[in-house]
């Protein structure tokens, strides 16, 4: 067992882990942050996307010890302390960008990473950016729309209620 310490959503967190302990396991099992999900074992679905030192990574494809000393951000830290949703979360609700909610944490974290680098992405840029985030419920229409809306773009001409 190795002791790891990192900052998760602004708070110091530490625990004893094995070499093989994945970051996602540390978050879910050691810290009880079960918002980060595991949907595959080949690093493709993106349900586990978190930010490590500001960059989106798949928490299922990184060992916990590799995050030693890092700043980790998860879905649990996205809303304001009083529960107010952030712009992206609110856009997902406003535009029905989620159904079962399982891929949603990864989608929100990926969207946040995209908008940090590209504040006004085009539809095509959003779709390509989401290549590593699979959603089985929404057909992506409302996810793409929500991300466009979160970036301040007018989405009123995109079909749907």
């Amino acid at each position: 067992m190795t002791k790891v310490t990192m900052t998760v959503n602004g708070k110091s967190a530490s625990g004893d882990v094995e070499g093989r302990t994945l970051l996602v396991e540390f978050l879910r099992e050691n810290l009880g942050l079960t918002g980060t999900h595991v949907g595959c074992d080949t690093s493709q679905c993106g349900a586990c996307v978190v930010h490590v030192d500001g960059e989106a990574v798949k928490a299922c494809t990184m060992f916990a010890v590799e995050a030693q000393g890092a700043e980790v951000a998860t879905i649990e830290g996205q809303a304001a302390p009083d529960g107010t949703l952030n712009t992206i979360q609110q856009a997902f609700q406003d535009h029905h960008g989620l159904q079962c909610g399982f891929c949603t944490p990864g989608m929100v974290m990926s969207a946040a990473a995209l908008l940090k680098d590209n504040p006004k992405p085009t539809e095509a840029e959003i779709r390509h950016y989401l290549d590593g985030n699979i959603c089985r419920c929404t057909g992506y229409h409302n996810i793409v729309k929500a991300i466009m809306a979160a970036s301040g773009q007018d989405v009123s001409r995109i079909a749907a209620e």
């Binding site: 093989r20 879910r28 099992e29 942050l33 079960t34 918002g35 980060t36 999900h37 595991v38 949907g39 595959c40 074992d41 080949t42 493709q44 679905c45 349900a47 998860t74 879905i75 649990e76 996205q78 809303a79 529960g83 949703l85 979360q89 997902f92 609700q93 406003d94 029905h96 989620l98 159904q99 079962c100 909610g101 399982f102 891929c103 949603t104 944490p105 929100v108 539809e123 959003i126 779709r127 390509h128 989401l130 290549d131 985030n133 699979i134 959603c135 089985r136 419920c137 929404t138 057909g139 992506y140 229409h141 409302n142 996810i143 793409v144 729309k145 995109i158 079909a159 749907a160 209620e161």
Partner: protein, 787 residues
């Protein structure tokens, strides 16, 4: 003006708050103090004699609690099948035993052979590697037509052959249908494959079994679309646990799409093992395991023929389908290619004579069962591809040929035993033609051609049967369950209320839309209504969510229970207002006496029910809680018309979806935002089937598409924005909300439009290809164009 609350409003989903903040409660989020973990050792051969398992070395390994094999389950029942189909000779289908852990034989790659319970999952895996399994491999049968040949290797020794049933529908029509073909002016024939799919909800299945020795109570937490059904099947037919000692909880469930309807071995195992080991036992499927253990979908091979008269009227239809059951009968598998498929073969057309033959076949593959649409996509695909092919053979416009043969008078009794209550197929086609901008297609085609691409346009119609279904009817058809739904409405003293519904929400937004209905009926704020589901300890017996039935059946039960609440509340109000009950009106959350300004608020009435100081105790009981069970009198029949426009790269064969339009008739609509989202998701799955997804076995029964590395899940960049409309509304005539259901439509209606569009694109490039099988991958397109 769109409404801002109640029925017809696009209320934002309340469940989103927990999902968007990482505070959902999915089954894998549940950990029970002291729990052990189970790892299933699964067969890596498709067919073999299981001669023995030596567990001794594994049992001695660190952390191992207990190792189970098939022998441990000889005393309990096998996995039950919930539907018995009767074949065309009046004989019941062949129904092989389905053990919890393989016993004597293994019959598909992925079948669980042994289960290792250990303190940690990795310890269980370590020990599983130390199991010594002695299997004599046998030849595998994978191809359905091979499987039913004389002398074929048998998947099961305890039944006569690999032919589960040979179903004819309607058998009495067969001769008349054949005669009509002899007299036809034109016959169009099509052979096709409806590709095997894997449902792939993003949340893999999970089961956590718990047991309280002190009270002899079992609890199973599971990723299920219908926890009550699991409780009944597992308790009564597998483990022999009475329902009052068994609680099944399906908390937040990350998508289902059919594959979480069924009762699986892992659920029974964890429940059983929790008692046997006297500690909670947890199983979390990996995605790789899911490919080998979740029931698959579709997998039909069909020959379909259409007879037309000299005026291009459809005279008769006959089909010959092989439907793959896999190695065992999954819970509702026999019903899918029969009653959910054959009954839909009339489609939107007034074809007077129809005969459907379905041979259900056992193979050494994962069991196949319902996947979004379940039988109806298979029916729609073959029919709508066939009609398109007929139009091209006859040189007539595909839309015109469809319109000419539309059913226009309702109710309409089809020759395949169902009666459509309402519909307006011309209206949805009119709407579609407007949405699809057919007039602008020629210009768009020229633009594509200028880039060296081909552009194609395809349409189709669909009809489906949802809201399953009348219990007495499905009982005659072989269902071993009722198909009603329940709701309990519990009004609290201060006026808020809780609805406990047997429907289960795993993405459909019931917590929002169901609340809209009750709030509107009473005239109170939606936030005063809480929807509870997914726990057998909290609500009455319910049948769960599948077949687009939640609002049509579950919603109707909720309406009936709410009507009872209102009726009782009116009695209380009449007492409080000292007026005749017949004069009491409920509006905007207040009871008033007609023609007066006397009124009493909803909250005052509910308080009186629980603090009955001034209360008609001689007439009615205190309290305000009512339950209703609703059993529908018919299916519902959503319908629609879809159009797809593709661009095809003739050099690579790549097909991209450029436009997709869907005009649906779902009857009345509760929450348009949610309905639109349901259609979007269905379209993505239908387009996925048409272009990307394929579950492929090799000849030895190894699954080639066994992970996301080889099974192509649709991504955002594979799909367009969709144009979806549901303004054509012919309300259902037999349920109180006039609703039809919308969950499966997109998946049912979209594949033929895509394939029809691809063939149109090829024709525009000078390649007259009469058919191409799904998925229409670049390599298949290239081969077809260069063949």
């Amino acid at each position: 003006m769109p409404k801002d609350s109640g029925i017809g409003a696009s209320s934002k989903r309340r469940e989103d708050i927990r999902f968007l903040t990482g505070s959902g409660n999915y089954t894998d989020d549940i950990n029970i103090r002291g729990q052990a973990h189970v790892y299933f050792l699964r067969s890596d051969v498709a067919h073999g004699t299981l001669k023995g398992i030596d567990t001794s070395a594994a049992e001695a390994m660190d952390g191992v609690v207990r190792i189970f094999t098939g022998a441990d389950f000889e005393a309990v029942g096998g996995m039950p099948c919930g539907w018995q189909v009767t074949d065309r000779h009046g004989q019941p289908m062949l129904e092989p035993k389905h053990p919890i852990l393989a016993h004597g034989k293994v019959r598909h790659v992925g079948e669980p052979i042994a289960a290792v319970v250990a303190d940690t999952l990795e310890q269980a895996r370590d020990a599983a590697e130390a199991l010594v399994v002695d299997i004599d491999e046998l030849p595998a049968v994978i191809d359905m037509k091979e499987a039913v040949r004389d002398g074929a290797t048998k998947v099961h020794d305890d039944i006569a052959s690999n032919l589960c049933y040979d179903w004819g529908f309607v058998e009495e029509n067969k001769d008349a249908v054949n005669k009509a073909f002899e007299e036809a002016a034109h016959v169009t024939t099509l052979e096709l494959v409806n590709n095997r799919l894997v449902a792939n909800p993003m949340e893999p299945r999970v089961a956590v079994g718990d047991y309280a020795r002190g009270t002899d109570e079992h609890t199973l937490y599971t990723t299920s679309q219908n926890p009550h059904v699991i409780r009944l099947l597992m308790g009564a037919f597998v483990l022999g646990i009475p329902e009052h000692k068994l609680r099944v909880v399906a908390p937040d469930v990350g998508g289902g799409f059919g594959t979480k309807i069924f009762h699986y071995q892992e659920e029974a195992f964890c429940t059983f093992a929790a008692k046997a080991c006297n500690r909670a036992v947890k199983w979390t499927s990996s995605r790789s395991e899911a490919f080998l253990s979740d029931a698959h979908g579709r997998d039909h091979v069909t020959k379909i023929e259409l007879a037309l008269d000299k005026d291009n009227n459809f005279a008769a239809l006959r089909t010959d389908t092989y439907a793959n059951m896999g190695a065992y009968l999954s819970t509702f598998a026999p019903s899918v290619p029969t009653w959910l498929h054959g009954t839909l073969m009339a489609g939107n057309y007034k074809t007077p004579l129809i005969y459907v033959n379905v041979k259900a076949v056992f193979t050494n593959t994962v069991p196949v069962d319902a996947y979004r649409g379940a039988g109806r996509p298979e029916a729609t695909y073959q029919l709508e591809r066939l009609v398109d092919k007929a139009a091209h053979e006859l040189g007539v416009d595909p839309i015109a040929l469809r319109r000419q043969n539309f059913i226009t008078e309702f109710p309409y009794a089809t020759p395949v035993a169902v009666e459509y209550d309402t519909g307006d197929y011309h209206a949805t086609m009119d709407k579609l033609e407007e949405m699809a901008d057919i007039a602008g297609f020629a210009a768009r085609r020229r633009e594509s051609e200028a880039k060296g691409k081909l552009r194609g346009f395809g349409v189709n119609c669909y009809i489906e049967a949802c809201g399953i279904a009348p219990s007495n009817l499905v009982g005659q058809l072989g269902a071993r369950a009722g198909l009603y739904e329940s709701a309990t409405v519990r009004v609290n003293a201060t006026g808020g209320l809780v609805v406990m519904t047997g429907s289960h929400s795993h993405g459909q937004g019931h917590e929002t839309s169901f609340a809209q209905v009750v709030a509107e009926m009473i005239g109170i704020d939606e936030n005063m209504v809480e929807i509870v589901h997914g726990d057998t300890a909290r609500g009455p017996m319910g049948m769960g969510t599948y077949g687009s039935r939640s609002i049509a059946v579950g919603g109707s039960a909720m309406v009936r229970a709410t009507e009872k609440i209102i009726a009782k509340a009116k009695k209380i109000a009449s007492h409080l207002l000292e007026a005749s009950e017949s004069d009491i009106e409920l509006k905007d959350g207040a009871f008033s006496v007609a023609g007066t300004d006397k009124s009493v608020a909803w909250g005052d009435v509910t308080l009186a029910a629980y603090v009955p100081h001034n209360y008609p105790l001689d007439d009615i009981e205190p309290g305000l809680e009512e339950t209703a069970f609703y059993d529908p009198s018919n299916f519902t029949y959503p319908s629609g018309a879809y159009a797809c426009e593709v661009e095809l790269d003739p050099e690579t064969g790549h097909v991209s979806i450029e436009r997709f339009s869907a005009a649906d008739d779902f009857g009345n609509i509760i929450n348009p935002m949610i309905v639109t989202g349901q259609v979007h998701g269905g379209l993505a799955q239908g387009i996925g089937q048409a272009l990307l997804e394929n579950c492929v076995y090799d000849a030895e029964g190894q699954l080639l598409s066994a992970s996301y590395m080889d099974y192509a899940m649709p991504r955002a960049s594979d799909l367009p924005f969709y144009d979806v409309d549901h303004s054509c509304q012919t309300p259902c005539t037999h349920n109180p909300l006039g609703v039809k259901g919308c969950g499966e439509a997109g998946a049912i209606g979209s594949p033929p439009a895509v394939v029809n569009a691809v063939l149109d694109a090829m024709r525009s490039g000078g390649k007259n290809v009469s058919h191409i099988d799904m998925p229409v991958t670049p390599s298949r397109v290239w081969a077809a164009m260069n063949g």
